[in-house]
Symmetry: C2
Subunit: 315 residues, 2 copies
């Protein structure tokens, strides 16, 4: 798998995902040459200094001019405009793919902008961290994770195979599904969890009777787990909610209904129903650990929280 799959690869958007792709392609010999571009001049400068691309181009058109594969890895709200910017500069036979967390809306916008004879392979790696920017990337990010591809009418069999090979080369397994199904699955496993995490962190921050310092000090009781995903990039997440509105609102409705039932169990002190629910939820984690998608170590195997200073003495 470690022969180059594409000759020249252009990556547009050099944040966490774009820079991880650049590292991974190079570490694994999957491309002969990687050209990077980012809308931010500051990011372009930092990416050049970090050196994970062979070249940093000054414009999107220059970045894609010689590319055999173009990877769109900017926030999904910017993908349509990015496709428009490169449409006239693409080489014949080029494959375009993306990594956006939403598929149906992005496909509509990107395909409206690209010439009809360009093969587009919509994709989404289920891998990430709460950090963003070009410094956050690392080549092993996609190892042992899933990449979802959601072919559209513009996806040729050959391009699908090549992009699939690329993800395999990066250490991922590949799953194929429709864009609509992707958007519903991810609303469940990613968008709703993020929404809830953003919300609970906001709620805690707004308490008057409990100080911010108390929330921070006693966060090891559970709260700190939520703060990780609530620290993810604000623009990326704004765009995901705006572009997967229907599925997110549907999941949110279900969540709120279930929460109302749970509230009722507490109000009426229905201990048996509470215990039943809490027993059922335990089993799901076991499944995730057995599927190799989670560590078995207690507390995520967290380390160093206490080492890096520890709580301040109370004296």
């Amino acid at each position: 798998m470690s022969r180059p799959i594409f000759d020249t690869v252009a990556i547009l958007g050099l944040g966490l995902i774009g820079s991880s792709l650049a590292h991974g392609l190079r570490d694994k010999g999957l491309a002969s040459r990687v050209v990077g571009y980012d809308a931010s001049e500051d990011v372009r400068g930092r990416a050049k200094a970090l050196g994970f691309c062979d070249e940093i181009a000054a414009t999107p058109e220059a970045a894609v001019a010689t590319a055999d594969l173009v990877i769109l890895s900017m926030p999904v709200g910017a993908a349509g405009a990015a496709a428009k910017a490169i449409a006239g500069a693409l080489k014949p036979g080029v494959v375009v793919t993306d990594v956006g967390g939403v598929k149906a809306a992005v496909i509509a916008k990107v395909e409206a902008a690209l010439p009809e004879d360009i093969a587009f392979v919509p994709g989404h790696p289920i891998a990430g961290t709460e950090h963003s920017g070009p410094e956050a990337g690392f080549g092993s990010l996609f190892e042992g994770r899933w990449a979802i591809l959601t072919p559209s009418e513009r996806t040729t069999d050959e391009a699908l195979q090549q992009v699939s090979d690329l993800w395999h080369g990066l250490g991922s397994d590949v799953e194929i599904m429709t864009p609509e199904h992707h958007d519903l699955v991810l609303a469940t496993t990613s968008h709703l969890p993020h929404l809830i995490a953003f919300n609970i962190v906001g709620t805690a921050a707004d308490m008057e009777e409990v100080t911010r310092s108390e929330v921070i000090k006693f966060s090891a009781g559970g709260f700190r787990d939520f703060t990780r995903i609530a620290a993810s990039d604000p623009v990326m997440w704004r765009d995901i909610f705006l572009n997967n509105k229907e599925a997110v609102l549907e999941m949110l409705g279900r969540f709120s209904e279930d929460l109302a039932a749970l509230q009722r169990m507490i109000r009426w002190e229905d201990g048996d129903a509470l215990q039943d629910l809490f027993t059922r939820t335990r089993a799901i984690r076991r499944g995730i650990i057995e599927a190799g998608q989670e560590t078995e170590a207690p507390d995520f195997g967290r380390r160093g929280a206490g080492d890096t200073g520890g709580p301040k003495s109370d004296s």
Copy 2:
């Protein structure tokens, strides 16, 4: 700090917290002798085999008969009955303490059961993992964490000092507050997060259009973070919600109000408001990391999720 603070310590309830206390007291030389008891015969047998106590008593009365400190470390719903069972067997001058996640309700029940001249020091270590049972314990669990003590009318200054010294000896810092304030702070930093985690895992498990196997496979998108705390002990959590009902319902009300506002932002596509909220929540995590209560490593420094088999090939 490593001279014995108490001669004989009795620990009632030998699950995660009780066994961690036994390990910690021994590792750090904080007690001359540790006697353990658990309501479950099976757990008593496993604890004996694990050997973290000097003696496993067959009854609660026998466990406390020679004790200078008694630690109640069973689920909070069982603490009142446990206090009743030992009330007649306590040595004069003994100190009783507990580790329960709720304070006001537990104090009322325990103090109604104990003789009036027995010093009681209500306590709660803000430390734990999602695992339970005697095998889950380890002596460093409390290092770098906070222990909260919530003195009541039955708490003597001397007993408070001794129990405080004990927690310091286990590596914790100690904070003193009223039981009512504790219950509100913990409703925010622990009980509400657990409730929400149980709920979201339940909601995802009940989807018809998304299979259980898809939820598991693509959980790295955020969902898996919630499954950790939703895997905590069902009885312990049932008891916490039943015993801290008012504060939990109050927090739940605030959470739901905020969620309704967030839902509205998505429905009306108010991107600026979304981005503002997501930017605000990011800052809180920074505070938690700086306070030494969380690791800075991406993804909690998770390791081995991919190593232990990785996702099944899609072929």
